[in-house]
């Protein structure tokens, strides 16, 4: 397979939402054929420029997926499948891109706050951000204020996403913002909050930078 064929195949499989060869795709009959993981690995083995893979295969294909979603041809599972493909590809490309001097769009720490185990929304946001080219550091659920702020500090993250589903745990988000101030790093990081009980008013009240209704709004806000 030559370079252009390989790049085309990667793009095709991102659109099909196929991470590994055993995955089925949007179209029938693809199961068993090489998917994003196998194709990106092969591309790297062939010494294809990782920037080329990023720009010509991943970015373009995600734009196509976005257009299909806009036209309602694709639904959220399709979008997530493609974003997951890009996320996996980015994991494989990351060391090569660093060597080539290409940086990610930024480090994004994300967590469900202490006392809360709900993570579906947080996971969707993480997948979409990774697919959009951010370096996502997912701390999981039930994460303490100290661990969140320490990670932001150590990783020098530019963005922090906090999630909560319960009215009893959302107040922890305010404690995180307060702790960031106490640590003197509040100005270095943009704080985004989300989850069913949160709102624009709540975000303002605790001093967060933005409220995100869903993963798509999170991406929109990040673009701005």
């Amino acid at each position: 397979m030559n370079t252009s064929e390989l790049l085309e195949k990667i793009a095709f499989n991102v659109i099909q939402g196929r991470v590994e060869a055993e995955d089925d795709g949007f179209d029938p009959g693809l199961e068993g054929r090489p998917a994003v993981t196998e194709l990106v690995t092969e591309a790297l083995n062939q010494n294809i420029d990782p920037k080329k893979i990023l720009m010509e295969s991943l970015t373009e294909s995600m734009e196509t997926v976005g257009e299909k979603f806009e036209k309602k041809e694709y639904l959220i599972p399709d979008m997530l499948a493609s974003a997951e493909c890009v996320g996996v590809a980015m994991d494989l490309l990351a060391p090569h891109l660093i060597k080539a001097g290409v940086e990610s769009k930024g480090k994004f720490v994300i967590a469900t706050v202490k006392g809360d185990l709900h993570d579906i929304g947080k996971n969707i946001v993480a997948i979409m951000l990774k697919g959009a080219g951010y370096q996502v550091i997912d701390l999981g659920t039930d994460v303490s204020v100290d661990r969140i702020t320490t990670t932001v500090k150590e990783k020098q993250a530019s963005f922090l996403g906090l999630s909560a589903l319960l009215t009893t745990t959302m107040r922890v988000m305010g404690e995180v913002v307060q702790k960031l101030k106490e640590e003197g790093i509040r100005d270095r990081v943009k704080v985004l909050v989300g989850g069913a009980p949160t709102s624009i008013e709540f975000a303002r009240k605790i001093g967060a930078d933005a409220y995100c209704k869903d993963a798509f709004q999170a991406l929109e806000i990040m673009k701005k």
């Binding site: 939402g17 991470v19 089925d24 949007f26 639904l75 959220i76 599972p77 399709d78 997530l80 499948a81 997951e84 993570d119 579906i120 996971n123 969707i124 993480a126 997948i127 997912d138």
Partner: protein, 511 residues
């Protein structure tokens, strides 16, 4: 029998009656047919029953001549056993044919009744009295007398309704030019020229039956082609409850059966007035009436294609009108479906009717209540399911569109479970895979099922903000459906019909 037909929905029938209860009802019906028997106002039918062993004596009563017929149980059982358990209702498009099979509980839904009124819906803007900046759209309804143009419009719309499987003319045509003589030819033509699904109706007059058959033969491609693919069939309410065979309708039964075309023997007693209101009494009586009707068809012509037509209703006890959206309606009807299955005769059943006069919450409640319950019965052919309001007095196209969505969801709901060994193995693999990932989300694995149509969509007419725009959204959708071209017959076929069938209104050619 045929390979191409509408899929309907295959259900696992819910059976309300125990085996004993079924046998008791069957026996009660046979007992009724033996004593008191039926009051037969058709001399021809009475004679035929007598020739086959029924006890027949002329009633000594003033008025029309009447024969009291007492059926031996064996006669009824033997005749009913001759009715086919499997039959095809044809259609202009082969893929729209229906395969009715008592061994296979495949459920189809269609229209019904012959309402006098067409209910048109328009939205009008209203302004709040408290705040003139607040506006809302409110549906306004106009009643229009049924006409050939409106029947054509109904058929054209029903062609577009994905979940509607067959078309029983839902509207009575009342144009000034329509007489009892040309009623049948015009209603069948208006329907057949605008829909490629199966068309069914009752006969207004026997006089033009041959012309209706000629019209269908021209469309189907000849006499044999029509019998192989009966694009039309008929409904005969041969019984006037309680237990009286009507002379005029009996004559229609003779003619239809002799033509070889399919026929529904339909009975519609009202619990509380023309039948007992109690479940056992109602079901025993309607079953007796239908069995006697089926017996008549099989004595006229053995193996005649016939449907067990059960439309038992309950009386409202405040005004003795029909009451459809009530538990007893469901109970009566589902018992009849079980009895039809017992006799191995495809069942024409009933659902989707209510007292509501306009689309809205009451209509939704009454329709869903019967649509869903009756679909679980496994009745092969459920009529009244689209567009009816004000019991069976009104056909509302907007309601038909709303019913289409409801019936579609019910069909989806009742699909057979997709649980094979392969499915469970795949599920375990999927769970392992997702649990090994960082995000533990199954969304990606929903895609295949989602795109294959295995996963249902949200309610088609939903409103996402805090409003109820169902009617507005459904009206918009209906306008899109109505903008589609009508599936008119070829002009050669139409010209041939107009040459051979007198009495067709000229304007119907293109309506």
């Amino acid at each position: 029998m045929i390979e191409l037909f509408r899929p309907g929905v295959l259900v696992k029938p819910y059976e309300r009656l125990s085996r004993d209860q079924l046998q008791w009802l069957d026996q009660a019906s046979l007992n009724i047919l033996s004593d008191p028997g039926v009051w037969c106002y058709s001399e021809r039918a009475a004679r035929l029953f007598k020739e086959h062993g029924a006890k027949v004596r002329e009633e000594d009563a003033p008025g029309a001549k009447c024969w009291r017929v007492s059926f031996p149980g064996g006669l009824v059982k033997e005749a009913v056993a001759k009715a086919p358990s499997r039959l095809v209702l044809g259609a202009r498009k082969p893929e729209n044919r229906l395969l009715l099979d008592t061994e296979v509980p495949r459920v189809y839904f269609g229209t019904g009744s012959e309402a006098n009124i067409w209910l048109e819906t328009e939205l009008e803007d209203f302004v709040s009295e408290k705040d003139s900046t607040l506006k809302t759209k409110v549906p306004r309804y106009t009643e229009i007398r049924g006409s050939t143009a409106l029947l054509s419009r109904a058929a054209k719309l029903c062609e577009q309704l994905e979940h509607l499987d067959f078309f029983i003319r839902p509207l009575n045509i009342q144009d000034p030019e329509i007489t009892s003589d040309n009623h049948d030819v015009n209603k069948f033509f208006a329907s057949l020229n605008n829909i490629t699904k199966h068309v069914q109706a009752g006969l207004t007059s026997l006089a033009r039956f041959k012309d209706v058959v000629t019209m269908a033969e021209i469309i189907a491609g000849g006499k044999k082609a029509l019998r192989d693919n009966p694009i039309i069939s008929f409904i005969a309410c041969v019984f006037k409850s309680p237990l009286q065979i009507v002379d005029d309708t009996a004559e229609k039964v003779f003619a239809i059966v002799e033509s070889g075309l399919p026929l529904v023997i339909s009975s519609s007693p009202q619990g509380g007035s023309s039948a007992p209101i109690q479940e056992a009494g109602m079901v025993a009586q309607i079953n007796a009436e239908i069995l006697a009707g089926v017996t008549l068809t099989q004595l006229i012509r053995e193996g005649a294609p016939v449907l067990y037509g059960s439309v038992p209703v309950r009386a409202r006890l405040d005004d003795l009108h029909d009451l459809y959206g009530c538990p007893e309606f469901n109970q009566y009807n589902i018992d009849c479906v079980q009895l039809a299955r017992h006799y191995k005769i495809p069942c024409y059943s009933t659902a989707g009717v209510g007292d509501a006069k306009v689309p809205g919450m009451q209509a939704m409640f009454e329709k869903l209540f019967t649509h869903l319950y009756m679909a679980t019965s496994g009745a092969q052919y459920i009529h009244y399911a689209f567009g009816l309001l004000d019991r069976t007095n009104c056909f509302c196209p907007l309601q038909a569109v709303l019913d289409n969505e409801q019936v579609g969801k019910i069909k989806h709901c009742l699909r057979a479970p997709k649980v094979s060994l392969q499915d469970t193995d795949d599920a375990v693999k999927m769970v392992k895979k997702v649990m090994a990932s960082s995000h533990r989300l199954f969304a990606r694995h929903a895609r295949k099922a989602m795109h294959s149509g295995d996963i249902s969509s949200p309610y088609q007419f939903e409103t996402k903000d805090k409003k109820d725009n169902v009617i507005e959204n459904a009206l918009e959708y209906m306008a899109r459906l109505e903008a589609e071209p009508a599936p008119h017959l070829d002009s050669d076929v139409v010209n041939d019909i107009y040459n051979k069938v007198p009495g067709l209104l000229p304007g119907l050619k293109t309506a």
